[in-house]
């Protein structure tokens, strides 16, 4: 094989965006995005003279001869621009104005397709689709967390922290040491700093239940 061709092939395969995303996953991503009211769910788009609701968007995009990959790219791109970047917002008529060239650009965007491939790969590895929305603060994700995790609704932690904690590697099992007799431990270790009588007195106040912490 010609060396130039080899390099081109390598470059093609090394790009994340080069991996084709199964149609089932594209559909899953698109459905989730379209129904997300914090993103583009419930909005109306104006493309030229045509008004299209979010639910009608897939049919409309299909009528522009877009394949499922391009169609999902457009939906994902719109979601990002409305929800994350804030570069698209409804006008005075409560509609988001687009033109076909904008849709075509989103459909062909390498960056979006790469991102979609990453999302799909994550899903293939058994990860939830949730990280896709976690930056928007998915209440579902928060509700699924155990109460001990400080990511409640009133928490100051950002959703980005949730993404960071949702890594592929399984979380290590919680390891906690326990001290059934703190008085005995304190007496053994703190002898150089305080008398045993003082430790005993303090522990009787602090741990009245027989020294059980």
């Amino acid at each position: 094989m010609d060396i130039t061709k080899q390099v081109q092939t390598y470059q093609l395969h090394s790009r994340v965006g080069a991996h084709p995303v199964p149609i089932g996953q594209l559909q899953q991503i698109a459905t989730a995005l379209l129904s997300d009211a914090r993103g583009i769910g419930g909005l109306t788009f104006s493309v030229g003279k045509t008004a299209v609701t979010t639910q009608e968007l897939p049919q409309f995009l299909a009528s522009l001869k877009m394949n499922p990959q391009q169609l999902t790219s457009v939906i994902y791109g719109l979601y990002k621009e409305v929800r994350e970047k804030g570069t698209l917002s409804p006008g005075a008529d409560n509609m988001i104005h687009l033109d076909e060239s904008k849709l075509a650009a989103l459909a062909k965007s390498d960056a979006i397709q790469s991102e979609l491939s990453l999302r799909a790969l994550s899903m293939q590895r058994g990860k939830s689709i949730d990280p896709l929305f976690a930056r928007s603060g998915s209440p579902k994700r928060a509700a699924n967390l155990p109460p001990s995790v400080p990511y409640g609704i009133n928490s100051n932690h950002t959703a980005d922290t949730i993404v960071a904690s949702d890594s592929d590697a399984p979380a290590p099992a919680a390891e906690h040491n326990s001290v059934p007799q703190p008085k005995a431990l304190l007496s053994s270790v703190l002898g150089a700093y305080i008398s045993k009588a003082d430790i005993s007195e303090a522990c009787n106040i602090l741990f009245p239940e027989g020294g059980i912490a």
Binding site: E175, N177, I194, I205
Partner: protein, 107 residues
């Protein structure tokens, strides 16, 4: 006040202990230096971080004889420190601490 307050005395002792063995974190400003210390008691219990340090220091002073005498036992991944009556004083589940202990004593 602290002369008669046993809790304040214990807290002062823990503070000295922390300064000797714990990680001292300081924040340096232009004219001040703030030393960050843990809260030694949380919700009526010892701060787990302080607990871990106490256990580490305790274990660092143990010998192989303590294991032979049964003062320390390792079973099912739990290292148990026992008192003279054989009752558990501390149960260590942190793998890093157990590994440190076993490698130090060559177990």
């Amino acid at each position: 006040m602290s002369g008669h307050d046993p809790i304040a005395k214990l807290e002062a002792a823990l503070k000295k202990f922390w300064n000797d063995y714990g990680r001292t974190n300081t924040v340096n400003a232009l004219h001040t230096e703030i030393v960050i210390e843990p809260k030694f008691f949380l919700n009526g219990k010892l701060n787990p971080e302080v607990e871990d340090l106490l256990i580490s220091v305790y274990l660092s002073h143990t010998t192989i004889d303590d294991v032979k005498k049964g003062k320390i036992s390792l079973r099912d991944g739990v290292l148990t420190v026992k008192d003279q009556r054989g009752k558990p004083v501390a149960e260590v589940r942190k793998v890093s601490m157990i590994q440190e202990f076993t490698s130090r004593l060559g177990l």
